[in-house]
């Protein structure tokens, strides 16, 4: 299974990278609102079903991939077979 984890700074938390990107885009003339910068983690997960893969990736997020004090995460699972 292929899983993609998107980790973003929680809303309401100052994101200096997001602010810098937002400011830069505005200077280029793009009328953007708030920008946030996070990270994407692409994973090959050895699992029998999409549900199993998702629950494994959730545990990975809770233990390591995201810090719940400052980050939220979204998981997308794709059956690569």
């Amino acid at each position: 299974m292929r899983a993609t984890v998107l980790v973003l700074p929680k809303t309401g938390i100052l994101d200096p990278q997001g602010s810098a990107v937002e400011e830069s885009l505005r200077q280029l003339g793009f009328p953007v609102g708030e920008a946030r910068v996070g990270r994407v983690i692409d994973l090959d997960v050895d699992a029998g079903s999409a549900d199993e893969a998702r629950s494994a990736v959730e545990r990975m997020c809770e233990q390591l991939l995201a810090n719940p004090l400052i980050e939220s995460y979204e998981i997308a699972v794709e059956d690569a077979s």
Partner: protein, 233 residues
């Protein structure tokens, strides 16, 4: 009677770079300083542990997030849970927060720039094993050098931290180098045996290096570790 030299271990992670300075400073201040290796699951008998500065595991993912799971950290967490004295400096502070031994988290500096300079700090408490040599309200000058030193806690957690008087060091007015919430530079655990700080006391133990104020923090730790040896004897 010769003075008791308490055993203070300093853990080297892959990417630590202040471990040898910490060993040197602790030895100069009267400790039997012992280098420890991150891959060792079991630690020798110790009276205190220091997690040094650096960039363990390249600061990948989040600073301290991966070091937290290194084999030696299991033993460090157990040592701390049993009441052992643990001091985390810079990257060591980040590791302690990620490991849940200290509240909050260290985020990238608000400026997004690495800062390397002396900062002035105010001592908030002197009744701890890490600040006993300081005077209440004393101003210390100790250098910082970090890219991820912005301590953060959500409002409810910050209220707990302040309510429990866990802040030991704050950046003096106008000195905050990283945007940390409430000017927090150093914190102690609610149980009082674990401290983390972003400034580097091991780089400020001799006036020849610009300041000797860091020695007050490290010597407080050595005193406390020695007291424990003497009490146990």
């Amino acid at each position: 009677m010769s003075e008791v030299r308490p055993r203070v271990g300093v853990v080297t992670f892959p990417g630590s770079n202040d471990d040898r300075d910490a060993v040197w400073a602790l030895a100069a201040l009267g400790a039997d300083a012992k280098p420890l290796w991150h891959a060792d699951e079991r630690l020798p008998a110790l009276d205190a542990i220091v997690l040094p500065g650096g960039f363990s595991y390249g600061d990948y993912l989040r600073a301290g997030a991966i070091a937290r799971f290194s084999p030696a950290m299991g033993a460090v967490v157990e040592f701390a849970r049993e009441g052992g004295l643990v001091l985390g400096i810079c990257n060591g502070f980040q590791v302690l927060c990620e490991a849940g031994l200290l509240p909050g988290v260290l985020r990238p500096n608000r400026s997004l720039s690495f800062v390397c300079r002396d900062v002035r700090l105010t001592v908030e408490r002197t009744d701890t094993p890490f600040t006993s040599r300081c005077r209440p309200g004393q101003e210390l000058t100790i250098p910082v050098k970090h890219g991820d030193g912005c301590w953060f806690a959500p409002a409810a957690l910050l209220a707990e931290v302040e309510g429990d008087d866990l802040v030991l060091l704050r950046y003096a007015e106008g000195e905050n180098p990283n945007g940390s919430v409430a000017d927090v530079a150093g914190l102690v655990s609610p149980e009082g045996n674990v401290m983390g700080l972003m400034p580097h006391p091991e780089h400020a133990v001799d006036p020849l290096l610009g300041s000797g104020d860091g020695a007050l923090v490290l010597a407080s730790l050595v005193d406390a570790a020695r007291d424990r040896v003497l009490q146990a004897a």
